[in-house]
Symmetry: D2
Subunit: 372 residues, 4 copies
């Protein structure tokens, strides 16, 4: 790499803010080959909170006003980890100020806002990347390699399930996120992750047919029951541009599923399966040797699945969720200094948003919709 030092600003210090902070702290020692990273400026709501989190996360300075982070002349790249209703304003301000942007997914509550973010990114010429981390798993990278090599032949069918259970308790009270202003529910909150994996592994979705449902149509409030306006369960039938059929099924009310992203990829010569809950292994079935020994093999992540090797020289020792974020960070840095990089840029992200929008319309109209 060429550039000597990268100055980092971070807006937001919640779950994803901490994940970004951990990645920025680790990316240097893990990879060794990156420019020096300076954790410069952390912004969050309130000077006290910002100062405390800056101390915890190892940032040099803090502001209660996020605009100061962007205005900081030493900051080269801004991590935006606030709720997505703030993404448009912050990303556009950062890009306009000539900063690179690493913005958490999804882009924005509306497609129109997301299109404005893309326009700002294009106008700036800066790197603008979204925080889709599951695509950074060394095994996902290896699956892509296998697909490219034709290990399972042309792909004709893909199934992805994404399930968690944080909305599964019907006794949990009505929350702000049950309001329609937050979008559709499962498809924008959740299905964007499967869509990022489809983007990386297969390219574009051509058309969609979506069903959604509400397992619990009402939830409790202090003043009695209130109608839930979002859909916690959704299934999107789809066709990829390459002709393959498939679906994405997503649920936020799937008791027992904690971080499931179960992928099945069927080809003319074999099958690949993966589940994010066991993110350090994937299954491969190929038809190339003696049929009496055909079977799904469980392949465990290892140094020969780069960049696993940068975390550990021994196989089977497991990467974790935060390690994916560190890889994502390294890819972002690579993109800034001009390397080939894997990631979902604003250009790619807008396609995910359009697919979500098409799925929403499809559900409303009860028919297939093309993705523009």
């Amino acid at each position: 790499m060429s550039k000597d030092t990268i100055g980092v600003g971070l807006i937001g210090s919640g779950f994803m803010g901490k994940a970004h902070a951990l990645a920025w702290n680790s990316v240097g020692p893990v990879f060794g080959d990156a420019p020096r990273v300076r954790l410069l400026h952390l912004g969050d709501a309130g000077e006290e909170l910002a100062a405390r989190k800056a101390r915890e996360f190892g940032f040099e300075r803090a502001s209660g006003d996020w605009r100061k982070v962007i205005a900081d002349p030493e900051v080269d790249v801004v991590s935006i980890t606030t709720p997505n209703k703030f993404h448009l304003e912050m990303a556009n301000a950062a890009l306009t100020a000539g900063k690179h942007v690493w913005c958490e997914k999804p882009m924005a509550p509306t497609l129109a806002d997301a299109e404005m973010m893309l326009a700002a990114a294009r106008a700036s010429g800066k790197v603008a990347v979204l925080g889709y981390n599951y695509i950074q798993n060394p095994l996902i990278r290896h699956i892509r390699r296998l697909l490219d090599e034709g290990a399972i032949g042309p792909v004709n069918h893909v199934r992805i399930e994404m399930d968690e259970d944080f909305m599964a308790d019907p006794e949990a009270p009505f929350q702000q996120r049950h309001e329609a202003a937050n979008g559709w529910g499962a498809i924008d909150d959740f299905a964007v992750h499967p869509l990022s994996l489809i983007a990386i592994l297969f390219g574009k979705v051509a058309r969609v047919m979506c069903d959604m449902s509400k397992p619990y149509p009402t939830r409790k409030t202090a003043d009695g029951d209130r109608d839930v306006e979002v859909y916690d369960i959704a299934t999107i039938l789809l066709r990829l541009e390459n002709g393959a059929s498939g679906y994405i099924a997503a649920s936020r009310t799937a008791w027992g599923r904690k971080g499931r992203i179960a992928i099945q990829i069927f080809g003319a010569k074999g099958t690949i399966a993966f589940d994010q809950e066991r993110m350090n292994e994937f299954q491969l079935y190929v038809t190339s040797d003696r049929p009496t020994e055909h079977g799904f093999r469980s392949i465990i992540s290892a140094p020969h699945h780069p960049p696993y090797d940068r975390f550990c020289p021994a196989p089977g020792h497991s990467l974790g969720f935060n390690d994916l974020k560190t890889i994502e960070c390294r890819q972002l840095i690579g993109r800034i200094v001009g390397e080939d990089s894997v990631g979902i840029t604003f250009e790619d992200g807008i396609f995910i948003e359009r697919t979500v929008a098409a799925a929403g319309r499809s559900f409303q109209e009860g028919r297939w919709m093309e993705v523009e």
Copy 2:
């Protein structure tokens, strides 16, 4: 049981004919409490074949003409295991002759034929049951008990995948079953099994939205490539009469899947999962004890899941595919002698056929269809 002896006729001696024969041979010694079964008359195409199979399967006499099996006055019940294009003629002849009928699934190539079979069954007053065997698994019976008890609360979402790979090789030549005369492909060949499970576990399907695809649009013949007219892959979005959403996904080209029927049932208080490839276990997640120990428990079939106990007094010793057929046979006998019985009668089967028909129309028209 009251009746002393049941005289059995069997038409067809292929895969399913053998399965019926094994069931008729085993049902007495396994259960002990059934009337004595006499294996009387086996019919197949050709006297020599019929005679040889009668000897192998333990039948007393054989005919090259299936009508003689039905005409045999000592025969009380006729197993029909021929290709489904013969079901209408044989079932109706048997029912008209006053015989009980155990006919392999699915009912008939067309809904109209199936309706005629149902009419014959109604007119006869005889027992008329279809060979849906997966519903007879003691664990499926136990899952139904758990659902009835409310172990996972009201069910709001159901997913069933049914996958095999016997059509997965694109180099395999064109067969007669690739012709449109054989129906749709995956949905009638395959998805009827998930529909039988839905019927037993949840009741009726209210509406469907179906997608189908052809992984290999052409197949080789001696005279060059020929268009495949059926769909090896299908997904049916559905709504149950009880309001739950869900889908059935079916593929005959899923490399590596050998007998997969993977079921996921989501309720307000837990989740149940099952896979026919590991038919002696199922998974249960409940939310009733301390959260730090919540997890899917893998429950292994055991004598306290009747009628497992009739096969083996020790847990974890595994039943097999043919054992399910023996249970099915016992249920059939029970129905004949007037016991409460689990099974898919022609009354239930016609609903499965109608659901398949609605799925076909839904695919053609690209929209949701009500199941009549």
Copy 3:
């Protein structure tokens, strides 16, 4: 096969008696190529019981005296399924009467008794086989083929665990089987199964070092606590004659294990693993292709693992416990009519008994013992 008909006598109608009866009923229809089997004579304690069981199991006649079964001139082979303290007397009587013998495992409570059984078998010239069923699994046969082919190279280490939980409850009262007269406990009740698998897969055990323990040293009786005289848990370190090291671990008090026989076979070029609780699959790891895709493959039983094909022409449809007994029965018949057969004869069985005896002495003396 040459012989036209085989007349079968069965002594005992409990768990294993029923298992033999099911096998004798099924072996004809399943295999088709065996001589006709006549279920002739069932003996158990008491005329009424014997008659009832004969009716259930399909035997033509019954006796309350087992000697009449052996004396029946039409009986060619006698299944002995009584408690093992009766094996010596019954087997010797049957062999002396010129009958073939299929006797449940283990041979007898003492090594001396077992040696007498072997002597009788040798003197008779008749087939004398023990009821070790797990070795008959088509996948075990396939594993032996893989070992013979060198698929995993020379084997250097073997581990077998055999665990159930029927003695796991400390509150369960003292039973007769807790008396020392019943043998050691886990090693003779249980570890004989792993030893039968070792015999089939690898040959002989050269020496052993055994540890045993009592999880519950006393159990309740009506008159207060009583000392348990047997050992429910045992581990046998061993060396095979081929030089490989390994162990057998056995427990009857392993909560949650229902029918576990977990085998791990390590070779210079790969590894094989199997667990009886999932008896329709095994795991194979080989090092012959690209390392980035190395992994344990889960191979599902299928028609190309004979004789699975005799039960079902489709892969992945699962055999069950009783099917293994049917295969065992077919192997016994094959041996009677002079075919190459897989099974544990009295010749092989005595070696298993000697290994158990050596393990017992090893435990008493706290040192390694050679197996004679």
Copy 4:
């Protein structure tokens, strides 16, 4: 915590040196509640290497002489990650200089050296902890809590297997670690990890009976074959001080095992199982509810298994190997500032070394040995 800043020195920058560096970088941002950590001084062989690694790992200064790290007055704690033949000299120097020590496992090539390290630690009054990381898994901590609560009743049997395959290739040439000077092989290289888990979960080992074997007695050198002097495979029968029986099985030549540490803990009321290869889940079988639903439940790591929550607020998102090291680092810091801490101190470590020594003697003498 009280102390404001902890100055860190690191000796060695290989696999474990990097693991320590990553932990020291992450511990602040992950936990938030620790004193500020200053990465002060990295020592390795050669100024250039040390300087490069200091830059990569984020250390302020570097030395080609490890003694300078220890002499650095700002250094409070020294991470020692060099080969274990250097541990005695380095640890003693650091302790004598008044530094806390975090030394990688095992302690030293000989028990005598390890005893000298313990003496130095005692004399110094400083914190001296060994790098046993697997005990820091939040799920291991939770298993200990379950054991303490009596969730599975009194433990009567324990089995631990630890297997990898980095020595499995017989074609790999003779290495220096095949010389007897490196110790026994599997038991000191490997079995110390299971022993650390036993120490944390159950306390002390009372006596041992060990078998060892050489899968490949010779290995290639440039000058022909050479005898391998160590044992890649070992099994240690053991009795715990609490009376439970069990064993540790260890292999460095187990093809396909990458980081397996499979634990089975049997109690009077249930069973717990865990495998390090799937470090984010464990299995629990309890007997407290209705038997028809008994089964091993698979429990996934989640925020209610602290300190998982410090890494991620959502369940099922997976920790990785390096995260365990970060927890270990936090525990070390806690011990320095006077908190209750989990870890293997030199006091605990010497017991592990003594158990290894007893196992070695047991193997030589072919009999049980008490652990002193």
